[in-house]
């Protein structure tokens, strides 16, 4: 690994360890507005401006951001496909499952539960109807000093889980597929060909991102299809139950991928949707590329960048490019839209008057109907799912 990659990866790691608390934007606005008013009356008395600086000083903003919890009532509801986590408790639908393990990587819904990455390279599976279990492996769980597993990715239609683990024996990543609901590992570690990872001048195939490179697609005619993205390319990997694997490069790495649809974004911010073999489907402007594709690729979600729909979540039909919008609950702004099972979209909605308190919202992308599944004191502590 060269020094550039070390610096890039290490700074990403340092940044991830920081836990910012978002101050109340209204306080920033008030500070500016008070300053404007103070300047306007400065000819009358300089004391007014000085008072404004004291009243709306920076330390005052911190106090706002760490204030008490919400004081108003919010109507809460249930969504059977809402999966999220907070304070060591995993929520699936209306059920709560306290966890022994800390979540350190992605939280991913499966058909009958959810999986997430825990310290030490462990992958935990929480079924809806039983105790949590650590998915075992006969590969290198997490070699000392070695890279952590990549993923997990899971199939919300079948309960299967895919993980990339580093093999010290091979000196490369192997693909593992599990059926945690049946307590089975499907095949042993399947080595991914050197050509998948060894790119000239690119010793770190994932660019420091240990979550995004793997898109689990699921079983397909007796094989298990996993799309894997390294820094430069997208690979289709077709793993078989006998432990063998084959793959082929699918071209330039996209923003997001499913078996049917690829999403990409250009320098101007235009989102483009194509088939897996890059045949154009549609494109849209004015949608931030932060939510990604639903598991089946039918929808893409992101925050609206359209001034006419500012502060809304945009739902794009990838086949037609039609965009519909979900307005967040009153007094909130949407953050980090992400997909759960099916067409259930989730996002955080900090309350502007009492941030960091906020709402966890789940919406049906077909009907655009939304429910607030929880109101929490610190929205930054919530973990939403990642398909």
């Amino acid at each position: 690994m060269n020094i550039e990659e070390i610096v890039r990866t290490s700074m990403d790691q340092l940044a991830r360890e920081l836990q910012p608390t978002v101050p109340n934007p209204a306080a920033v606005r008030a500070r500016v507005n008070r300053s404007r008013r103070a300047r306007s009356i400065a000819v009358v008395g300089l004391a007014a401006a000085a008072a404004a600086a004291v009243v709306f000083g920076v330390s005052d903003l911190r106090d706002h951001s760490s204030g008490a919890g919400p004081t108003h009532s919010v109507e809460l509801g249930e969504s059977a496909d809402a999966v999220w986590m907070m304070d060591g408790v995993l929520h699936i639908g209306d059920q709560a499952y306290p966890q022994d393990k800390e979540i350190v990587t992605a939280l991913v819904p499966t058909k009958n539960g959810a999986v997430y990455g825990a310290p030490g390279g462990q992958i935990v599976y929480q079924p809806a109807d039983g105790p949590a279990q650590v998915i075992s492996t006969d590969g290198d769980a997490n070699p000392p000093g070695g890279p952590t597993p990549v993923g997990p990715a899971a199939d919300p239609d079948s309960d299967l889980v895919a993980i990339l683990r580093w093999s010290t024996a091979d000196g490369r990543y192997d693909l593992y597929i599990y059926d945690p609901a049946r307590g089975r590992q499907l095949g042993t570690g399947m080595p991914l060909g050197d050509d998948t990872w060894d790119l000239p001048g690119d010793p770190n195939p994932f660019g420091g991102d240990l979550l995004a490179p793997i898109y689990w697609v699921g079983p397909n005619d007796g094989e298990y299809t996993v799309l894997i993205r390294n820094r430069q390319q997208l690979w289709g990997k077709y793993a078989k139950g006998d432990g063998s694997a084959s793959g082929l490069p699918l071209g330039k790495a996209p923003l997001d991928a499913t078996l049917d649809v690829l999403a990409d974004v250009d320098a101007d911010g235009t989102l483009t949707f194509t088939t897996l073999d890059r045949k154009p489907l549609s494109s849209v402007d004015d949608v931030e590329p932060d939510g990604g594709l639903s598991h089946d690729g039918v929808y893409f979600a992101g925050l609206s960048a359209d001034p006419e729909h500012s502060g809304a979540v945009a739902i794009v039909d990838t086949n037609t490019g039609d965009v519909r919008y979900i307005d967040p609950p009153e007094g909130t702004v949407p953050m980090f839209p992400s997909w759960s099972r099916g067409h259930t979209l989730m996002f955080r909605a900090p309350l502007l008057e009492s941030a960091p308190s906020g709402l966890v919202v789940a919406c049906d992308a077909d009907s655009l109907a939304c429910v607030n599944v929880a109101e929490v004191d610190d929205i930054n502590q919530t973990v939403l799912p990642r398909i």
């Binding site: 690994m1 060269n2 020094i3 550039e4 070390i6 610096v7 890039r8 990866t9 290490s10 700074m11 990403d12 790691q13 340092l14 940044a15 360890e17 920081l18 910012p20 978002v22 101050p23 934007p25 209204a26 920033v28 606005r29 500070r31 500016v32 300053s35 920076v58 903003l61 911190r62 000093g145 890279p147 770190n204 420091g208 911010g269 925050l303 001034p307 500012s310 502060g311 702004v333 949407p334 953050m335 900090p350 502007l352 941030a355 930054n380």
Partner: protein
């Protein structure tokens, strides 16, 4: 005059972009409270120009540039009392550069020894993933200067990381 609708747009923008800009600010300054203060100042300036920013420019890029200027201003203010680092600490432990992620404290220490402009270039290049031309615009320096700062910073970081640093620490809180 900023309308109520524009206020709501600004609130949405600030809430969404604060976490990533905060991380950039901490990496550039090494101090969480200072980073928060400078970012709040930057957000105030973004709000002052919001009627224009929200219509004609990419708000996050604009905010990042304002933040970089805030950081640069802070550097200039403290420069009269700051002594440049001229020697590296004695090696205490060997660090293999084939490690995927170096020790976090060691990286903080290495970053803290860089001159301000070099540190800004490194953060913008390797954390924000900006091109040389983009960094040049943000910091208002030439593209050649960006390359020079980046080259010197990488050499300095490589030296610091391979020899280890004696006084490892995280960001000041």
């Amino acid at each position: 005059m900023v309308s109520r609708r524009q206020d709501e747009q600004f609130d949405a923008f600030m809430t969404a972009s604060w976490p990533s800009l905060y991380r950039t600010a901490v990496l550039m300054t090494g101090d969480t409270h200072l980073a928060e203060d400078l970012l709040q100042n930057a957000m105030g300036k973004v709000y002052k120009s919001w009627h224009r920013v929200s219509q004609v420019e990419h708000p996050r890029s604009y905010a990042r540039a304002i933040l970089a200027n805030e950081v640069a201003t802070w550097w200039r203010r403290r420069s009269s009392s700051e002594l440049p680092v001229e020697t590296w600490p004695e090696p205490t432990s060997a660090v293999g550069l084939d490690d995927q992620v170096v020790n976090a404290d060691l990286m903080w220490e290495a970053l803290s020894t860089l001159p301000a402009r070099q540190r800004a270039v490194v953060v913008l290049r390797y954390y924000e993933d900006l091109s040389g031309a983009e960094i040049a615009r943000v910091l208002d320096i030439s593209e050649g200067a960006v390359k020079t700062h980046a080259h010197r910073a990488l050499r300095a970081l490589e030296t610091a990381l391979t020899t280890g640093a004696g006084n490892e620490r995280g960001p000041q809180a």
